[in-house]
């Protein structure tokens, strides 16, 4: 425990200055988001790990935060879920007190402050890195925001993925992402990115056809947030996973 903690503490403050020391990245997750024709899609795998053990195979990492926004999380499971819950309550609380919801920008900024407030916990090794998406009703577009551990907030125009398999997912998205994908194509691309990430990364769980565990996805558009049906994802999973089979 002691050495592990010393390592994290050492790696963090220097992460910006030394390229040899990797910053404390959250482990055991792939969550991704990208824009499509109607708005923005957000998706995540289902695996939670504890060291070399699989802690859960049915973890939910994508959360609806209000009528027009959703977030996905990577990092220590407890604080992650707590932050998503608290953020949702805060948005609702604001909406009720003020009589109208926050703007997309306002929500993204507020989440940044919450990530920043979590920084002392990051030094203890409890990292929370969210990925936030929202439908901006004023501009009629889907927007994506990523965060660093200090609460820095950066907007992505096309796509992003975080977590231990984030890089692998990003590589797939780089290849297959196109502007204004149709809803069907977007679901296909998201699934492909998650499957590829699961193949490369031990911390990411792929679709489990045997137990019927599939990644979760949400679409955020002008109508609000809706889940992609499990049956839709299931139907796409099998051909995707069998594509490398010998004839």
């Amino acid at each position: 425990m002691a050495t592990w903690q010393a390592q994290t503490q050492q790696s963090l403050p220097h992460s910006g200055t030394s390229i040899h020391q990797a910053p404390a990245l959250p482990h055991g997750t792939t969550v991704l988001a990208f824009t499509y024709q109607g708005g923005v899609l957000i998706a995540g795998d289902r695996r939670a790990t504890e060291g070399y053990q699989i802690a859960s195979t049915r973890m939910e990492k994508v959360f609806q935060t209000d009528d027009y926004s959703a977030m996905a999380i990577a990092g220590a499971a407890g604080p992650c879920v707590e932050m998503a819950k608290l953020f949702r309550i805060e948005l609702e609380h604001y909406e009720k007190l003020d009589g109208q919801p926050l703007t997309c920008e306002g929500k993204a900024n507020r989440l940044g402050q919450m990530v920043k407030a979590n920084f002392p916990m990051v030094l203890q090794g409890l990292v929370v890195i969210p990925l936030f998406v929202g439908y901006d009703q004023k501009r009629a577009i889907g927007r994506i925001f990523k965060y660093d551990i200090t609460g820095g907030r950066y907007e992505e125009t096309d796509f992003h993925a975080v977590g231990s398999g984030g890089k692998d997912a990003r590589l797939t998205l780089k290849e297959h992402f196109k502007k204004r994908l149709s809803e069907q194509d977007a679901i296909q691309v998201a699934l492909r990115a998650l499957v590829n990430a699961a193949e490369e990364d031990v911390g990411t769980g792929g679709p489990d056809l045997f137990r019927r565990i599939y990644p979760t996805m949400k679409l955020v558009d002008h109508q609000g947030v809706r889940d992609v049906e499990e049956s839709v994802i299931a139907a796409l999973c099998e051909p995707l996973m069998n594509r490398h089979q010998d004839e």
Partner: protein, 227 residues
């Protein structure tokens, strides 16, 4: 040292009550009525940005009549209470009954201990899974609390409205259209100014909705329902 004037407690309470009643009588009225799918709120409110009806929690709505700043601070306190409770325990543990109790305590304390009583009347409603589980509470300036059934009204002309509704409200739960028609006509008949539909604020607690049951009905939609 001059002795302060003696005022009997009865006299003091009566004065305060009169003061509060006078303030409330100046305010416009609000009706809450159960309908087939939930609870309908209709307020005589010409402003379309300063609301009298608002959401407190998933299935609980609030409305206040009287002095705006006073019921607004009570509304905020209620939201705070509900959100904290829902986060600490669970969302189902937030009930209109406990909120109504809280309001009653607050208003009661203010009435007897503060310089000036609050000139407000509150209406709290919770929509249940079925019509039998709906709850309606009316809380007065002195903290007295009444558990109502089917419909209730607060504000300046509430007595006249209640008399009218008692006579005309149907035995069974009305449809949204019938409930809205009845509320609208009640306002028209008791008010000297005859508020048009534009002068009404309409909101519902709709049990068929998923999650948060509260929804405001824009005037166009209210008009469509009435047609």
């Amino acid at each position: 040292m001059a002795l302060p004037f003696y005022v009997s407690p009865e006299q003091m309470m009566q004065d305060r009550a009169e003061y509060a009643k006078k303030g409330i009588a100046k305010g416009r009225s609000i009706i809450a009525m159960e309908y087939a799918d939930g609870v309908l709120f209709v307020a005589d409110n010409p402003s379309n940005s300063l609301f009298k009806i608002s959401e407190i929690y998933d299935n609980i709505a609030f409305s206040g009549a009287g002095k705006y700043n006073e019921f607004e601070s009570l509304r905020k306190a209620g939201i705070q209470h509900a959100d904290v409770k829902g986060m600490m325990y669970s969302r189902e543990d937030v009930t209109a009954r406990s909120l109504a109790n809280g309001y009653s305590q607050m208003l009661g304390t203010i009435f007897s201990q503060e310089m000036k009583p609050y000139e407000v009347e509150l209406l709290l409603a919770q929509v249940g899974e079925t019509a039998e589980h709906n709850e309606l509470y009316r809380i007065s300036f002195d903290g007295s609390i009444v558990d109502e059934q089917r419909f209730t009204a607060i504000g300046g002309r509430s007595e006249a409205i209640l008399t009218l509704l008692r006579k005309e409200s149907p035995e069974h739960c009305p449809s949204l259209k019938d409930a809205l028609t009845l509320c609208h006509s009640a306002f028209e008949r008791v008010s000297d100014l005859k508020p048009s539909l534009e002068g009404l604020e309409v909101a519902i607690l709709d049990r068929t909705r998923k999650g948060r049951k509260f929804r405001r009905l824009p005037i166009q939609e209210a008009r469509r329902i009435l047609e």
